[in-house]
């Protein structure tokens, strides 16, 4: 296509694109920033929104707690997903007999987070399926005796649900990547050099896939940082993840809490944006290198 004509054709598309991707986000962010900086009406001598947000926990400031809780939750989830997805993908790549099982990996992909959260609630809650199994086996004496696995301090339910939903996706991604890297040939080469299978898995398979999938992993870490439905249904009222904190502050009857929600939204969006800029520029650098 000649550049002149393609320019003529693509210019309106580019305008639409820029308009749709940049303007709403900036407008929303700008409004939230405005709300978080605006002094509360009719209340003088009150500390500003940002001071309240970042006040020590003893004085009701929740920023650090919320942010670190959300960060920890996504880090642990990603870690556990890798712990399962890497060996699973290995079993699929190197054992042809498992090929028929690959279709089962698609099942969780059909589940919305809301549905998965409900299914795990039915499975893990004190009156849920596992609790009944424990009761039937004589391992627990009743609802109160069963360890709390949902709405618990360790966020077990949230983590398990996220691992259930995302492990198949990462397994499929790793299988794909392993095929692109021609892992079977690499293993034959490693065999010929006298490496044991476990050494190959530890020294070649896992590091290579992790390196190649790093951008994907980080993008999913960002995604998990903004996860909402699962913590909403399976989490505790405190600490809360960032998204739940924001929506709850904005829907409180006490109007003075609304700016806190906006301030957290500003912070969250800025954090994600900074991370993304870092990630994307890194990737651009990698592309230039190759």
């Amino acid at each position: 296509m000649s550049l002149t004509s393609s320019k003529r054709f693509s210019a309106p598309f580019l305008w639409v694109y820029a308009l749709l991707t940049v303007v709403p986000l900036l407008a929303g962010w700008g409004y939230s920033l405005h709300c978080s900086l605006r002094p509360l009406q009719g209340i003088s001598g009150q500390p500003g929104t940002w001071q309240r947000l970042f006040a020590p926990p003893s004085e009701g400031g929740e920023a650090w707690q919320t942010l670190s809780y959300t960060f920890g939750l996504s880090a642990i989830s990603i870690g556990m997903i890798l712990l399962f997805a890497l060996p699973l993908s290995y079993a699929f790549v190197f054992n042809q007999r498992n090929k028929g099982l690959q279709g089962w990996l698609f099942l969780p992909l059909t589940m919305p987070p809301v549905v998965a959260a409900f299914a795990f609630l039915a499975l893990l809650s004190p009156s849920g399926f596992l609790s009944r199994v424990a009761y039937a086996l004589g391992l627990s004496a009743g609802i109160d005796q069963f360890p709390r696995l949902v709405n618990d301090a360790l966020s077990t339910g949230i983590i398990l649900t996220q691992v259930f939903l995302l492990t198949p996706f990462f397994t499929l991604a790793f299988i794909n990547q392993a095929q692109q890297e021609n892992m079977p040939a690499l293993r034959r080469a490693a065999d010929a050099l006298g490496s044991r299978r476990a050494q190959f898995a530890r020294r070649i398979y896992a590091p290579l896939l992790l390196r190649r999938s790093l951008p994907l992993l980080l993008l999913y870490a960002v995604y998990l940082f903004g996860t909402y439905e699962i913590p909403l249904l399976l989490g505790r009222s405190s600490p809360r993840v960032v998204t739940v904190y924001i929506t709850e502050q904005m829907q409180r009857f006490d109007l003075s809490n609304i700016p806190l929600g906006h301030a957290m939204a500003v912070l969250y969006t800025a954090l994600v944006a900074v991370l993304l800029v870092f990630l994307l520029s890194r990737r651009a650098g990698q592309i230039r290198e190759t």
Binding site: M1, S2, F9, S10, F13, L14, V16, Y17, L20, T21, P24, L25, G28, Y31, L101, G103, W104, F106, L107, T110, M111, P112, P113, V114, V115, A116, A117, F118, A119, A122, L123, S127, F129, S131, R132, A136, G142, I143, I175, N176, Q179, Q180, V222, Y223, F225, G226, E229, L232, L233, T243, I246, T247, M250, G261, A265, Y268, T269, L276, L280, A284
Partner: protein
């Protein structure tokens, strides 16, 4: 002698066969169970009259929750219709515009940089996006309307579509288009004779992904729909919060059915895509 050995080996295999088979298959069985169990649990709950602790199996099977749903005694069926309409519209809008726009973006000299823009609205949690946009939506009178929710969902599904389709506009595709143009094809003919036939499977796949993205969405719809746009996800959460596990299970299964159907149809495409890479 050799015959003896052979027959004893057969005997051996016959005796040890079932146990070994079971042990060998056990991990595979567990694997299947792991993925299918949550679904089975949902199906079970949807067919139970009541599920009182500590009974594992109550034995009181019923179709009443399904019957009530299909006869319209609750709002699940209408919610499903609304969800189909909503997600269908969002997917159609986002996939078609995303396809064209990604074509324009990928033609740019700094295509990667342009493409980066799409990551921001796509990766910000939709519920936070909605919280920040709520003011504008209320101001414009879009809050609580179907159109408003379509627009809001479009704002994060469209960037995804652009990212998704960017993989289609490879150098090779650009060269094919250039070839068609030098052979005398007009822009319209390039679309009709090259891009449409070659892009159709990719478009179908993108449409499906966009549909699911919208179909799965809860937070943004709740915030901007303010209870007036009752999609299936919203109904599901309502039933969960009302402690009605049976209807929540029916709603959950309704949510999974179209996604599963689409996935079954589209898996061929998925497989073709991976086999092309080998």
């Amino acid at each position: 002698m050799r015959k003896d050995m052979a027959s004893s080996a057969v005997l051996n295999a016959r005796v040890r066969g079932p146990l070994r088979l079971l042990l060998g298959q056990l991990p595979r069985l567990l694997f299947r169970l792991l993925f299918v169990f949550p679904l089975l649990l949902l199906a079970y709950l949807s067919l139970q009259q009541a599920w009182r602790f500590p009974r594992l199996v109550s034995g009181e099977w019923t179709l009443q929750h399904w019957a009530a749903t299909l006869q319209g005694h609750n709002s699940l069926l209408s919610s499903m219709g609304l969800s189909l309409l909503l997600s269908g519209s969002v997917a159609l809008l986002a996939a078609t515009s995303g396809f064209a726009v990604s074509g324009a973006v990928m033609q740019q000299k700094r295509a990667r940089r342009w493409l980066s823009l799409a990551y921001f609205p796509y990766l910000i949690a939709p519920v936070v996006f909605a919280a920040m946009l709520q003011f504008y939506f209320v101001r414009m009178g879009w809050s609580g309307t179907l159109g408003g929710v379509v627009l809001a969902q479009y704002l994060f599904v469209f960037p995804y579509a652009v990212l998704f389709f960017s993989g289609f506009w490879t150098d090779r595709m650009r060269n094919l288009i250039a070839q068609a143009r030098t052979l005398g094809a007009s822009s319209r003919e390039v679309w009709l004779r090259i891009l449409w036939p070659l892009g159709r499977p990719v478009l179908a796949m993108g449409l499906f992904q966009c549909f699911l993205l919208s179909w799965f969405e809860y937070g943004l719809t709740r915030l901007l729909g303010v209870g007036k746009v009752q999609t299936l996800t919203i109904q599901t959460v309502l039933y969960v919060q009302e402690a009605n596990p049976h209807l929540a299970a029916v709603a959950s299964l309704l949510m999974i059915v179209p996604a599963m159907l689409l996935l079954l149809i589209n898996r061929q495409l998925l497989l073709r895509k991976t086999s092309g890479l080998q």
